[in-house]
Amino acid sequence: MTKRHDGRSNLDVRKLQAKAGVIKKADGSAYFKIGNTAAYAAVYGPRELHPKFMQNPRTGILRCSYNMLPFSTTERNRPGPSRRSKELSLVTQKALLPVVDLSEYPNAVVDVFIELSETDAGSRCAGICAAAIALADAGITMKDLVPAVSVGLINNELVVDLDGEEEHMNENETPDVPIAMIPSTGEYTLLQMDGIMTKDQVLEALTLVKPALQEILKVQKQALKDRFSEGEQK
């Protein structure tokens, strides 16, 4: 097995770091860093939803916002909503919605704001990971956490968790599949594809990521536990 440019094996994820409760004024918040990609997530609510026409009397709704900060990339990223950020907000919402239960809060909203302070590939996955921790920290009823990571194809080999350099190899032609999963049921809540892979490769990727997702899940859980056991060590 050939080593990757940063010395990882094909199944290794980048260095992980996570912390819950980083934003004081939010009802729940989290920081998640994978390699050089860092995401902050803040959760507000459940709270009253305005404008009123968006309210759903059957259940509360989840509203996600994905935003890359202007300084997060090597070249300045123009602030404000874009086609890309709108899409990623939507896929983030769809990735998280299957685990959260907002039926207790009709007409209300849970807002999730994801801000990317550093981006080096895999930012939507980092955002989802951070948002899952933040939602749990906010005391939202959810049946599981959601870990997410991408799988790419380099030199016809599947590799887990591409970084920026790998993603930009071969004139940005590296195929890339971000995947999010509900660990307890094994259901996938995010599956997109950029580039071309064969059906078999995609199916293989789905099983290949599982150890990586478990590793991320462990870090997510630990972040939540550390938040409330801080004082005990003192």
């Binding site: 009802d27 609510g45 959810m142 599981d144």
Partner: protein
């Protein structure tokens, strides 16, 4: 064979496997998937007999009947006030529950509560449709003026209050401040700036060490350090009226002049009563022949 996989009073996170087997029953914060019990909220695990539940550590306030909370008036309605009590839904003070005064049709309600006013209120009803009724009438309730407000997470309020109010009364006694602790995590403190500062420091400490035992000792040490040894030995402060909600004192009423409370209360009495300086003899002269003599 059923078995518990997590220690009691441990922190569980959503998706964490708590128990295996059908002998345990899932309660709040947990659910059953096949023969497993899994947490669906972040919290402390509690097991009582067969029932497994979690106690929340964070999250927004869940309104409960009879809770005293501190709310902020966000709107003045036709007959009442809309109040933000920090939960997912806002609450309403009905006109009757806002004041003891008679309020005439079309009167200006901002006289009693205005937008951005804070009030200590009690939750009188929470409906299944999440409509919350609150009242500002009652002991210790009403508009809050002066002092300062701080916020703690509603999950930590029980520790701020202490067992049957021991922690708050300790703070009140030691600092001489007037304190109202709302179940929603808003805390109103009124005293001199120095006293208020000590209370805020103590509450921040309670917040930080909320889940650790020996909290009272820790707070006592802090108060001694800030206020001196004698602060803790001050006599108990009698429970006093904090809010402005108070029934008008009865002794000011004059039984010889005032009629009993009626639906005309508050209206100008002179309009509905015959003039007081009407010669009284005329009336009695007319009546005496039939009434008093025979």
């Amino acid at each position: 064979m059923s078995k518990l996989l997590v220690n009691e009073r441990a922190i569980v996170v959503p998706g964490e496997l708590i128990a295996e087997g059908m002998d345990f029953l899932p309660s709040t914060g947990t659910y059953r998937a096949n023969d497993h019990i899994i947490a669906n909220r972040l919290g402390l695990l509690q097991v009582s007999g067969k029932v497994v539940k979690t106690v929340p550590l964070s999250g927004v306030y869940q309104p409960k009947k009879n809770d005293v909370v501190i709310g902020k008036v966000i709107d003045v309605l036709i007959s009442g006030w809309r109040v933000d009590i920090g939960g997912a839904y806002s609450a309403v003070i009905g006109l009757k529950d806002g004041t003891f005064d008679f309020v005439a049709r079309g009167a200006d309600l901002t006289k009693y509560f205005c937008i951005d006013d804070y009030a200590a209120v009690k939750i009188t009803n929470v409906t299944s449709q999440n409509l919350i009724d609150i009242s500002a009438k009652g002991q210790g309730l009403g508009k809050l003026t002066g002092g300062r407000l701080i916020t703690v997470n509603s999950a930590k309020v029980p520790r701020v209050i202490g067992k049957s109010g021991s922690m708050v009364s300790l703070l009140k006694r030691a600092t001489g401040c007037r304190i109202v602790v709302g179940q929603n995590g808003l805390i109103w403190i009124n005293g001199t700036p120095e006293e208020e500062y000590v209370v805020v420091g103590a509450i921040r400490m309670i917040e930080k060490y909320a889940h650790i035992s020996g909290l009272t000792n820790r707070v006592e040490t802090y108060l001694k350090e800030k206020l001196g040894e004698e602060a803790l030995n001050r006599p108990e402060v009698p429970e006093e009226q904090v809010g402005e909600s108070e029934r008008p004192p009865m002794r000011e009423r004059r039984p010889d002049r005032d009629r009993p409370r009626s639906r005309f209360e508050g209206r100008d009495r002179r309009e509905r009563r015959p003039p007081r300086d009407r010669p009284p003899m005329q009336a009695s002269e007319e009546k005496t022949p039939q009434g008093s003599e025979e």
